[in-house]
Amino acid sequence: MRLGRTQLAALVLCFSLACPVSQVLAGKKEKAATPADDSKRALHALNRLTFGPRPGDVQQVMAMGVDRWIDLQLHPEMIDDSALDTRLQPFRTLRMSDREIAEEFPNPQEINEVKNGKKPMPTDPVQRAIYGVQLARIEEKKELEEATSKVAKGSAADGGNPDSWAMTNKAPGAGAAGEENSASSGSGTMNSGANENWADTMTDRGGESPGATAPRKLTPEEKEQARISEEKLYRDLDVQQLPSLPPDERYKKIMSMSPAAQYVFANQLRGGKGEEFLRGLNPAQKETLMAMNNPVQPVMSELTQAKLLRAIYSQRQLEEVMTDFWFNHFNVFIDKGLDRMMVTSYERDVIRPHALGRFDDLLVATAKSPAMLFYLDNFMSVGPHSPQALGLPLHPGPYSRPNPPKRANGLNENYGRELLELHTVSVNGGYSQRDVTETAKVFTGWTIDKPAEGGGFKFDPRMHEPGPKFVMDHKIRPKGEEEGLELLHRLATSPQTAHFISLKLAQRFVSDDPPSSLVDRMSKTFLKKKGDIGEVLGTMFHSPEFWDDSAYRAKLKTPLEFVVSAVRASGANIDDALPLTRQIANMGMPLYGSQPPTGYSMKAETWVSSAALLNRMNFAVALANGKIKGVSLDLVKLAGNASPSPDAAAALLSLESSLVPGGVSQQTHDSILSQLQAKKKASPNTVAGLLLGSPEFQRR
């Protein structure tokens, strides 16, 4: 960061202002440089090793002793986290494998297979409802495209266009048949008649050739459309009445609606809306209804909620911070295709178990994870001289797969490049474009077994580039999958990697521009202790640089850190974490939503912009006034008073000490106080909102 020095000076000043009582300290440099008093030490440790102190945390850490508390955080297995486990219990998908998720929550490929008649419509009523809505959506989208393009062209579509023919043929069929059937049967599941209708549409569309003679009777079509829109009106009314029903009855009613009505219902949930339909339902019911809107939405929604709940409630705070750190370091983007159903296991099985373990293990785990293989395209990287690229025949045998023509038949350097640049030796790590290409060759064949079905890692020798490879002056002999493992191990133990990882850790835990003396010592530990991450952290936590006054409040909170720390500081209770996840997304940091492989920046300059500051202030005020749905807080209790203090200044001081344990500047204090006095009444909510939106609370 460019203004390191100015900022440091400002911070020292800021801190001195924050402690008006102990003016003695302000001018005495020698005193400020020594380890500060216990409560400041405890607060600093909490600010860095956790997502922010909760009421009473500082006292607890002091009671235990800061060093002992840090050691405990480095050993999360010794910390009981059962309260969090209870909160996460309802989220079933958190415990599911990729395969189970793929089976239960269909992805577009699977839906397409049903659409094209390659797979039968599922028999399970829940699954049928999910597929039914998705199929209807596909049709609707086509219909819409068709309609708009007709309007735009000002004339009817070409008669020979297969798409347009399928559309006009389809409209009377699927939409109407579905609802008529269920209206008469009342049984609720999509009956076989409707199913055939879907199938017919698909077959026709696929067939194409008879298209030219298909009926294009415009007037009957218009009639049909009028009829459909009238029926739609009734369906809409039906759907609108749903929220007034008791939860169980509501769920049953939705599941027994016609596919067409289910489709209308599902549209109410688009874009994360329609909370009133989900209120009071049990988690499994919620999952089903969300899945009707978007089959993978329950998976992504539970994962993002769990991330917030963990950050807020886990006792193993350092493990959560480090899980977040490593996820960001080995970033994958949840909205890239099949990654939507792979990120749950990626974080659970790849990142978290190694968060405080060995870097080597973590690196190999990410390299083999379907989420990473898919995100950085390595699963489709093919050696230019591999058996597959050369079209060599498969070995005969009872289990041999057919050899379909593959679209991907070349090297994909995406993973190779990011492995070097972002995961290990970093951009200045001394590699060339040739090294990137050679690295990519090493990893050809590292692929996913049936990605759409949630298959795991597979080494496919047919995709692997034969021959030796040379990466950064090192010769890797041909030995298939082992080549990748050899290279990963070399990278994981390289001094450049040790330095890069140490630097990133210090940037997260100490300051945007950490002292090189510290980074060097951390790198030494990294190399000496064979990439033991806990040891590297230990070196940092026990360094003078970590405790130096220049590091105090030196970090600007990211949106995630800001929101979570505000919730923790206010002691709020979370009934529903989804609204909070949306707040974080609005601040430009959607959870699991960093598209580029770099992950999110941990530096101040990224997160300081006008819109971002306004978002923070508005969030703080909304949170304190109970305007964030799903979050409840008791400020009176927090302020430690039975009733709001009539004395504005006293109320302010009391909230200051509980919400911002490090204190606020005189300026902040006076600004709030003058507002309070102008209004002549001390609304603790307003005060809390101002404190959480203050400059001091933006730092940790």
Binding site: R2, L3, T6, Q7, A10, L11, L13, C14, E145, T148, S149, A152, K153, A157, N161, D163, S164, R407, N414, R417, E421, V427, L556, A585, N586, M587, G588, Q595, P596, P597, E605, T606, V608, S609, S610, A611, A612, L613, L614, M617, N618, V621, S665, Q667, T668, D670, S671, I672, S674, Q675, A678, K679, T686, G689, L690, G693, S694, P695, Q698, R699
Partner: protein, 414 residues
């Protein structure tokens, strides 16, 4: 990040405040405002994220190879809007036709980034940083192009605007820039609040904070909020007959037009539109590409019409990270390619012409045997706008490592 106190141009804002007590920030600005106000040159950059298929956007309809390579997704000659007997617009770009006829719209074909990457994020990163192949560049070229602009003592907080939730790569850097999702949400303590006590308290805290980073941004923010409130861009409805299509992109340009019309001192602006990555079922005259092109062209044409006379000082440039394969793939789509097409629209633009050298679609001419070869570096196109329109002569700073000789410009600006 610079932390100096910033003041800004706002003659429009002053006029609107009228008889109300003039806030000090406006009074401060009033002195330098008059001379700097009008004639602000604006550059609007539009990014088509996802690699648009330039060959189906500005179609080389006189090339038999084009039809041979795209048997199922070509735009038939009878459907293209012919431009010059060789190139033609996709029919969904009909809203561009009058702009072309009025010579406000120019086209640069076979343009783009010379970097061979076919990775979306790398290629976007390079084009936004303005340094193909170099990832270490910290800031974006659109930010750098405002740096040390001559004859510009005062800067508006609205000098650089990105329509979106955060500052994109192209605008990141030391020059202050504002990201805006929705101009109505750019406030503290609720919409329409005249003087919310909450807002005043926050302002007092940040204005005098000793926290250098937050103080600077906070101050800018509150200036911008007040300026926006005074200027009240919401009252600038689209001009009569102007209709923006529904959707994020149309919304972005509609709001951008409001900010420009409210005379807030916008000099550079950025908006993006996604939905171009058509690996499967791209469509041709109809279908996916037709739909996104319709939204694209209707929005831009509406923006142009909406700006009215302000268009005289405005240049709009479009870009996309790379083009797509010359041949269609096995899924009636196209894969990641190389060179692409850029549109340039504006008052000073010498439009009605396709600029750049056309390299044929003959196999021998294709880049790596599969893609349209690049004949114009995107920095050459942008460099001309930065130097001739924005007035930044220091092109080696805006596009470091690239020799950008004015003599080699395409001269699409009159």
């Amino acid at each position: 990040m610079s932390i100096t106190r910033r003041i800004f141009i706002c003659n429009g804002a002053l006029a609107i405040v009228g008889t109300a007590a003039v806030p000090s920030f406006l009074a401060r600005a009033a002195m330098g405002a008059a001379q700097a106000a009008s004639g602000t040159k604006r550059l609007v950059v539009i990014f088509q994220r996802g690699a648009a298929d330039g060959l189906n956007i500005v179609v080389p309809h006189a090339e038999p190879q084009y039809y041979a390579m795209r048997p199922s997704i070509n735009i038939p000659r009878r459907s293209v809007i012919d431009l010059d007997g060789f190139f033609g617009l996709h029919p969904s770009l009909a809203p561009f036709q009058p702009l072309w006829a009025q010579r406000h719209l120019a086209i640069v074909h076979a343009a783009g980034s010379p970097d061979p990457t076919r990775s979306h994020f790398d290629a976007q990163d390079y084009m936004e940083a303005g340094t193909p192949g170099l990832k270490a560049t910290e800031d974006g070229w659109l930010n750098r192009c405002l740096h040390d602009l001559p004859g510009r003592p005062q800067r508006s907080p609205f000098q650089a605007i990105a329509m979106g939730p955060s500052i994109p790569r192209i605008l990141s850097g030391p020059e202050p820039a504002i990201a805006m999702n929705n101009i109505n949400d750019f406030t503290v303590g609720g919409r329409n609040a005249k003087s919310s006590p909450v807002a005043s308290a926050f302002e007092a805290m940040y204005d005098h904070s000793s926290d250098a980073v937050l103080h600077g941004t906070g101050e800018e923010t509150f200036d911008a909020v007040k300026m926006l409130k005074s200027a009240d861009p919401g009252k600038y409805k689209p001009a009569p007959g102007v209709e923006y299509p529904k959707g994020r992109f149309g919304d972005s340009l509609r709001q951008l037009a409001q900010l420009i019309k409210a005379n807030l001192g916008v000099q550079v602006a950025f908006a993006d539109i996604g939905g171009w990555d058509h690996h499967v079922n791209e469509g041709a005259v109809d279908g996916q590409i037709a739909n996104v092109l319709r939204e694209f062209s209707q929005s831009i044409a509406a923006f142009w019409k909406d700006l009215g006379d302000l268009g005289e000082d405005t240049v709009v440039v479009t870009m996309s990270e790379f083009g797509r394969t010359a041949r269609e793939n096995g899924n009636r789509g196209t894969d990641h390619g190389h060179a692409n097409v850029m549109f340039v629209l504006g008052g000073p633009v010498r439009g009605g012409r396709v600029y750049g050298r056309w390299s044929e679609l003959d196999q021998s001419q294709l880049y790596e045997g599969r893609d349209l070869a690049l004949t114009t570096d995107f920095r050459q196109v942008l460099g001309e706008a930065v130097l001739r329109h924005v007035g930044n002569r220091n092109l080696s700073e805006v596009f470091p490592g690239y020799e950008n000789k004015p003599a080699k410009f395409l001269h699409y600006l009159g």
